[in-house]
Symmetry: C2
Subunit: 283 residues, 2 copies
Amino acid sequence: MARKREIFAFQGERGAFSEVAAGQFAGGTVDVLPCTRFEELFENLRAGSVDGAVVPIENTLHGSVHENYDHLLNFDLPIAGETSVRIVHNLIVPGGVKFRDLHRVFSHPVALNQCLRFFEQNPQVARETFYDTAGSVKMLVEEKLTDAGAIASARAAEIYGAHIVKRSIEDDRQNYTRFFLLRRPEWFKRHSLEAGRKGWKTSLVFSTRNVPGALFRSLSALALRDLNLTKIESRPLRGKPWEYLFYVDLLGNAEEERVRNALRHLGEQADLLRVLGSYPRGS
Amino acid sequence: MARKREIFAFQGERGAFSEVAAGQFAGGTVDVLPCTRFEELFENLRAGSVDGAVVPIENTLHGSVHENYDHLLNFDLPIAGETSVRIVHNLIVPGGVKFRDLHRVFSHPVALNQCLRFFEQNPQVARETFYDTAGSVKMLVEEKLTDAGAIASARAAEIYGAHIVKRSIEDDRQNYTRFFLLRRPEWFKRHSLEAGRKGWKTSLVFSTRNVPGALFRSLSALALRDLNLTKIESRPLRGKPWEYLFYVDLLGNAEEERVRNALRHLGEQADLLRVLGSYPRGS
């Protein structure tokens, strides 16, 4: 009996970098549900209309996607994996269009701004902002434009049957986005995650009492057990001006004894403490 | 001889909440230079075309204004003060327009989203997005619209000669924005800041070596001297994926002995350490 294929929700048009992340999580092809807003990823997963939600969490140039940190706390859907996608911007044209035909290039403003060197070297090409990177490829093909290109992922060219005329035109190659794969709590009853060679990571969120040294004491619960913290992020606590929630990623699994001890110790210091998930460390 | 009035740059149209902050910093009226982009605040101050730059740094509902954290490091213009403005959204109409005439209300999407209860209670009024809160009041008055209102600060109503028909229609009153006043380094040679009853605050930025426990050891330099940390923010380090800069605010003045000692100790741990300013603590 053929096993039912899983469906992962992602934000953006087909061919978005989030769809590339979905493919990495699935280790091949996966059925996808494109969504307009980040919140819909969480809503669809909670409602059971998809098997996983692919959520961008931070980018090495722009920092964290703060809205998604807020949703992680509010929806309480566990993290089942992480992966990173290198953001490679390609110049893409519909079939038959040549580089010398181009007078304008469409893309999301962030992508256009990450390819400034290309536009300096090609002053004949105007920058045109569009709501989405992959969506701009879709539009070119649908509108049959003959003087325009788009900046997007290689996957977008593939999906819409367009061609890459220049690969990797981004200014900074150290441009990566890290994604979480979220699952419903029920999934973990029937499946177990396996850590690869790189071991485990655990993400958690806590708030501290508003007293001097509270954050330091909270972090000591981790440091005293030699736990390696890979990320810390603060977000405002609603209704308590100038107080914060802290999101922390550490190396280790919440089931390990020293992590369990650290979490119990941290719980003594913290007003709120929640483990968002333990998952195999991505590459 | 009348002393020359100072000019402060702020981002937004006349009447923006940033202009309210400029007034709080000046303790009365101040000449202002409205700018379109945050970066222009820093550029104008560095070029000497203004005496101060009024920079929003965090909001109690939305979190930090990350772009401005990046500019603080890159422009290296010292912080000379902080202040908080409560974000009070008012429904504003041009003279002669009545509440019952309203069919649409213009404002920045963030402001519209912060007044959802008002729109639920008044379904006859459509939400119309505009690029700026105060700018939407200006537009109503210039276009002489008779069926439209705007959501903005009381200062915007005053500046454009419009009227407030409903005060404080925001859903959440715990909505504050914190601003920094930046000055040129030369200013500090001729002036000295005075701390009020509430004492001093110091803002600094540091990066840690990428080794286990590095952030904890850095914070210990502060905690071991009983220094109270009021904020910590992480930002990605460009060119070094998954490494971070940390921005910290603490209570105290960088000239005090225990802060000096803490900074020397922190400097031993940190790859980069820069004091962004010591300034009187705002209310």
